[in-house]
């Protein structure tokens, strides 16, 4: 107890030096804790976003990672588009025939089951059409199935809920095909609410605006997924925008719809040959069928299938992980530098305290005791610095928790800790012991007679 008291008194006596050394160590620890927190947040954000309620993303041949990024995270540019008939391959004959009746196209499409229909029985296939923007946010053309069938949350059991309004309808009496549902962040940042209208920009955030606007019919509650930063529009409306119709070659059978739903403005949905999808979110009826379906799609001519979880794990392993590790190493070096600061501060003070050490020896303190006092002082600086740094980091994280939740969906509180943080304190303790070793050795070797007479 007295050793600690002596160490504490020494710490207080050289208050400025001790404080500066402690602050530098605290900043080092704060950096490490923040990097670990970022590591945890990024990892959780990626993994939670990869668990989106479907097991495959299907898109055109190309980079599986790019397909995942643009279809799951709404990042990066879409690779290309797939013909709508590729999407129809996930449905049985009856539903395909219904599509032909509603949209028009080759009647033969409705005479057979889709190639992959058996895999999706009991699951779903939801089309996405990308390429437009609402300011910086992606506009995602999709069907009401997106809100009906997709689930989110830790157990993937939560339906999307709305802070305002409702989900999309295929066709509404009020707005026809031109309805939109906004992710929570889009609505807040764009200051849009139900009843407002907006126009998409074509191609990129600075692109040309489409003349036709969409009316907001719903604002989603925050989900902590990339869906918070997307504007979902009715796929039919998306198709009807200028430039979104695919030219149909003369040799393609394109019969008009027999059971169309006409819009108030007189617009009819595009026929099947005129339609394209950027990607398809697929959940197989049984999870184990996902691998078989993935293989079969990848062996096809036009499409590829990617498992988001695997792609994200590979992305984490290949890019994000090493980057975070590099960042962590840099901050650990900062900690080592701070520990060297502790060493320098204590070592420099040794000249002043040799007499004190000699006096303690004369009072009966052993060499090991005075060595222990110096090591304890180093540990005191480390402990105070580590605790202060930890709090500093968590206060900073808490301060930005709103922003973090908005951007990543990860909720962090002031006491949210990453599993790696448990290593910070032992690490700092070891660094402090090493830093205190040289001054402690100097204390151990202090010559009592010489310093008492000095």
């Amino acid at each position: 107890m007295w050793l600690l008291r002596i160490a504490w008194r020494n710490f207080c006596y050289r208050s400025l030096s001790s404080l500066l050394t402690t602050v530098s160590l605290a900043l080092g620890v704060a950096l490490v804790v923040m990097v670990l927190a970022i590591f945890g947040i990024v990892t959780e954000a990626f993994s939670r976003n990869a668990q989106v309620g479907y097991n495959l993303v299907v898109g055109p041949k190309g980079s599986a990672l790019q397909l995942t990024l643009n279809s799951v995270y709404y990042l990066s540019r879409p690779i290309e588009n797939l013909p709508y008939t590729e999407y129809m391959e996930y449905f049985p004959a009856a539903e395909r025939a219904e599509m032909v009746r509603r949209f028009g196209g080759d009647p033969a499409l409705g005479e057979r089951d889709g190639i992959y229909a058996s895999y999706v029985a009991g699951g779903f296939a939801i089309p996405l059409a990308l390429g437009d923007y609402l300011s910086e946010f992606r506009v995602v053309g999709t069907t009401p199935d997106f809100f009906e069938k997709l689930r989110h949350g830790p157990t993937l059991e939560e339906k999307f809920s709305f802070s305002e309004g409702r989900a999309l309808k295929t066709h509404s009496d009020e707005y026809g095909y031109f309805e939109a549902v906004l992710g929570s962040r889009v609505a807040r940042q764009m200051n849009l609410s139900v009843g407002d209208t907006f126009q998409n920009n074509h191609g990129d955030p600075e692109g040309k605006g489409h003349g036709q606007g969409f009316t907001v019919v719903g604002i989603m509650d925050p989900t902590g997924t990339p869906n918070d930063r997307a504007a979902f529009v009715n796929l039919e409306g998306f198709y009807l925008l200028e430039g979104h119709s695919k030219p149909v070659p003369d040799d393609v059978i394109n019969e008009p719809a027999t059971d169309p739903i006409q819009d108030a403005s007189g617009k009819l949905p595009l026929t099947i040959p005129e339609r394209e999808v950027t990607s398809i979110l697929v959940r197989t009826g049984m999870p184990m069928l996902g691998v078989v379906l993935e293989t079969q799609v990848n062996e096809s001519v036009r499409a590829q299938a990617a498992a988001p979880v695997g792609e994200i794990a590979r992305l984490m392993e290949a890019i994000v992980g090493p980057m975070l590790t590099a960042l962590l190493v840099i901050t650990l070096i900062t900690c080592v530098v701070a520990a060297v600061g502790v060493l320098v501060a204590i070592y420099n003070s040794m000249n002043d305290r040799r007499r004190d050490i000699a006096v303690m020896r004369a009072l009966g303190a052993r060499r090991e005791t005075v060595t222990g006092v110096i090591l304890m002082e180093s540990m005191l600086i480390a402990s105070i610095g580590a605790i202060a740094g930890w709090f500093l980091a968590h206060v900073a994280i808490w301060f930005f928790s709103g922003e973090i939740e908005d951007r990543t969906g990860v909720q962090v509180g002031i006491l949210t800790t990453s599993s790696y943080e448990g290593w910070v304190f032992p690490l700092v303790a070891i660094l402090a012991l090493l830093a205190g070793l040289l001054p402690a050795l100097s204390a151990y070797r202090t010559d009592v007679g010489t310093n008492l007479s000095a």
Binding site: M360, G364, R367, G449
Partner: protein, 241 residues
């Protein structure tokens, strides 16, 4: 076999000599090679409760002798017994224990630790021994040296006389059998010197502590029944022309 296992605080076997030195020689290595003998003492004893003033010229080895008795230095040869313990056979840790338990030391320059208050400095006198630190004794000692109201003062807030009084209280705190005082009045003003001297002599008498005080001052020696001259004890000085 070393006598490390002896309990330095064991006083049951103490003979009448608190300190007994025999054939003590101390030599130092010289920077240019060779040896320099600074002490060669055939015999020196102090009995329990006895008070001895040791006088001698500067550089005569007085402080070295005190350091050897306190176990801060080891003799080149000879025997030193503190109570019934042969200190030359103790390891460094054993000497540390002995010093903490049985020897008090008052320095010429007080040597209070600046980071600690007066009461804490006194407590430090008990902090390295086997006994628990006794705050009540520390307060009593501060009261005895007239500084009860300065208990929480730092050394720099005290006068030199007050600092030396705190140092005396610290030296007495561990209930030593032998108090070594190295010119304790040399750095205090004459008025304070008397009170410091009174304090040391009276405290040692009251607590039955043997006292060995090194001094230059003849008036100081007049307060002691026994005064030894180092020149008479140290054969090195006798042979010096």
């Amino acid at each position: 076999m070393q006598n490390d296992e002896s309990n330095p605080t064991d006083t049951t076997q103490l003979n009448s000599h608190v300190l007994a030195i025999r054939d003590l020689i101390k030599t130092f290595d010289q920077p240019g090679g060779g040896k320099l003998t600074v002490l060669d003492i055939e015999s020196l004893t102090i009995d329990a409760g006895e008070q001895l003033a040791l006088i001698g010229e500067s550089g005569g080895g007085k402080t070295t002798l005190l350091h050897i008795i306190a176990g801060l230095l080891t003799p080149t040869s000879g025997s030193i017994r503190v109570g019934n313990i042969e200190t030359t056979k103790l390891s460094e840790q054993g000497r540390d224990r002995l010093r903490a338990a049985s020897i008090g030391y008052v320095f010429q320059t007080f040597n209070l630790l600046p980071a600690f208050s007066a009461i804490e400095n006194v407590q430090l006198g008990m902090a390295f021994g086997n006994r628990p630190v006794d705050i009540t004794r520390a307060r009593d000692l501060l009261g005895k040296v007239g500084l009860a109201d300065r208990a929480n003062y730092r050394p720099r807030q005290l006068s030199v006389g007050q600092q030396q009084r705190v140092a005396i209280a610290r030296a007495l705190a561990g209930r030593p059998k032998l108090l070594l005082a190295d010119e304790p009045t040399a750095n205090v003003d004459p008025a304070s010197a008397d009170s410091v001297l009174d304090l040391i002599i009276n405290s040692c008498r009251d607590e039955k502590i043997a006292l060995m005080m090194v001094t230059h001052s003849m008036p100081v020696t007049e307060r002691f029944a026994r005064v030894d001259r180092l020149e008479d004890l140290n054969r090195v000085l006798q042979s010096t022309p």
